[in-house]
């Protein structure tokens, strides 16, 4: 889609110090598992204690990030709330399923059931901001955030909204980490984020986080210029698609001042990045972001947050984000100033 979709404000809760506004990338030191957990802020600054007590971690994370983003954007009530999540509220889902088993389908608590739905974060944001406008949550594994972005851009393009709150949220639970480790998603040996890209082994480090953006057609310092998604492409198809994508935006590879990649040290899938860099960006600075936040379905939202941070700190004119999720969902996001 063509057009300019300006980013008015951002907020992120991640394994980095991203929420406080004093972000300096730091590689964490893992103790026992290949898992990066978010650094949680004091939620009481944003959510009333009586509401807070009932919320699971991902709900607190999602709602707080959204409210902070609106605050940073000077927007009280958005015209649309559009999010993406790969797994939604995992903790509540697991709690509910455990209870079904333990209490043999009797005496079930309503709260984890209510909150286990994917759109519960959106519902909470809407209630808190009294926003009765368009509200949508996309659940498409590694494409979840990209679809939320695409929908946001369409809403703005059609003039249906002036300010869209777009975002993504994801949590990792102990059980889900274990399930994914059984199918080889995470590295078998304890691997530090500093070593993950050079480990030469299958799997990666798990992560989680939430990031929100207020998008608008009113000019600001950073805009989203383009978005492209590819499902299960071959390496050749990725290369061709990138060439076409750059041409559509009248750009040469040399115009990209920073390439942010989702390279995660998984030898099964990192070749996509290596090939693309060799072909298009041999001289372009690359910033692999998953050392900072780990791998999860909507990690590309953290990449977008990081890109905006870099551009606002005097970064280049054009930034390209290329991310793929275990070889299946690939996306390009182009940012301009």
């Amino acid at each position: 889609m063509k057009g300019r979709f300006y980013i008015q404000g951002t907020a992120a809760i991640s394994p980095q110090e991203s929420f406080s506004g004093t972000f300096t990338p730091q590689l964490a030191r893992l103790e026992d598992r290949n898992l990066l957990r978010v650094k949680e802020p004091d939620y009481r600054d944003f959510i009333a204690p009586n509401s807070l007590r009932r919320m699971s971690r991902v709900l607190k994370m999602g709602l707080t990030t959204a409210l902070k983003c609106l605050q940073n954007s000077n927007v009280a009530v958005p015209d649309a709330i559009i999010t993406g999540t790969g797994k939604g509220s995992l903790h509540d889902t697991e709690r509910f399923l455990h209870d079904i088993r333990q209490y043999k389908e009797t005496a079930l608590n309503p709260t984890p059931f209510i909150q286990s739905t994917y759109n519960s974060v959106n519902g909470l944001i809407a209630l808190q901001t009294r926003c009765t406008q368009y509200n949508n949550t996309f659940v498409h594994r590694g494409f979840s955030f990209e679809h939320a972005l695409l929908d946001s851009m369409m809403q703005l393009n059609e003039g249906a909204a002036k300010h869209v709150l777009a975002g993504a949220f994801e949590e990792i639970s102990d059980e889900h980490f274990y399930i994914k480790s059984r199918i080889g998603f995470w590295k078998e040996q304890l691997t530090q984020p500093a070593d993950m890209l050079t480990s030469g082994t299958p799997g990666t480090i798990s992560g989680e986080g939430s990031a929100f953006f207020v998008l608008s057609t009113a000019p600001s310092d950073v805009h989203i210029a383009g978005l492209k998604m590819l499902y299960k492409p071959t390496q050749e198809q990725v290369s061709t698609a990138l060439g076409n994508f750059l041409r559509e935006h009248q750009l040469q590879p040399e115009d990209i001042g920073l390439l942010i990649t989702g390279r995660n040290g998984d030898v099964n899938f990192d070749f996509y990045y290596q090939e693309l860099i060799a072909q298009y960006f041999p001289q372009t600075p690359e910033l692999p972001f998953k050392q900072l936040c780990g791998e999860y379905d909507t990690a590309s939202a953290f990449a977008l947050w990081l890109a905006v941070e870099r551009m606002r700190a005097g970064g280049p004119e054009h930034v390209l984000i290329y991310n793929q999720f275990f070889g299946e969902q690939h996306s390009f996001v182009l940012l301009g100033r």
Partner: protein
């Protein structure tokens, strides 16, 4: 200090006090009432609206609490409204359902 013999009345009183304390602890845990201690909850204070300020979802959680911990199922919502007035009414209801 010397105490008199344990009478039936005092025994019933002690059982009731222990039940209310346990119930308060269970309510705090089930509803995740952070920063609330059992001694902060008055036996006769209303659980909903004023007092603890609980809401309709909490009332469902309390029904589940009774079912899980005391094997008491409250079928009639009107009955539930009376039972869940306070810790005192809940404890009295639980005690009335205990086998003699």
């Amino acid at each position: 200090m010397r105490r008199g013999p344990i009478t039936r009345k005092r025994l019933t009183y002690n059982i009731m006090e222990a039940l209310k304390l346990k119930l308060k602890q269970q309510i705090i845990e089930a509803l995740n009432l952070q920063d609330t201690k059992p001694e902060d909850i008055d036996d006769n204070a209303p659980l909903f609206g004023e007092g603890l300020g609980l809401d309709s979802i909490d009332s469902l959680e309390l029904m589940v609490l009774l079912e899980r911990n005391y094997q008491i199922k409250v079928e009639d919502p009107r009955e539930g409204r009376k039972i869940l007035q306070s810790v005192q009414t809940m404890a009295e209801f639980i005690q009335s359902k205990q086998p003699a």
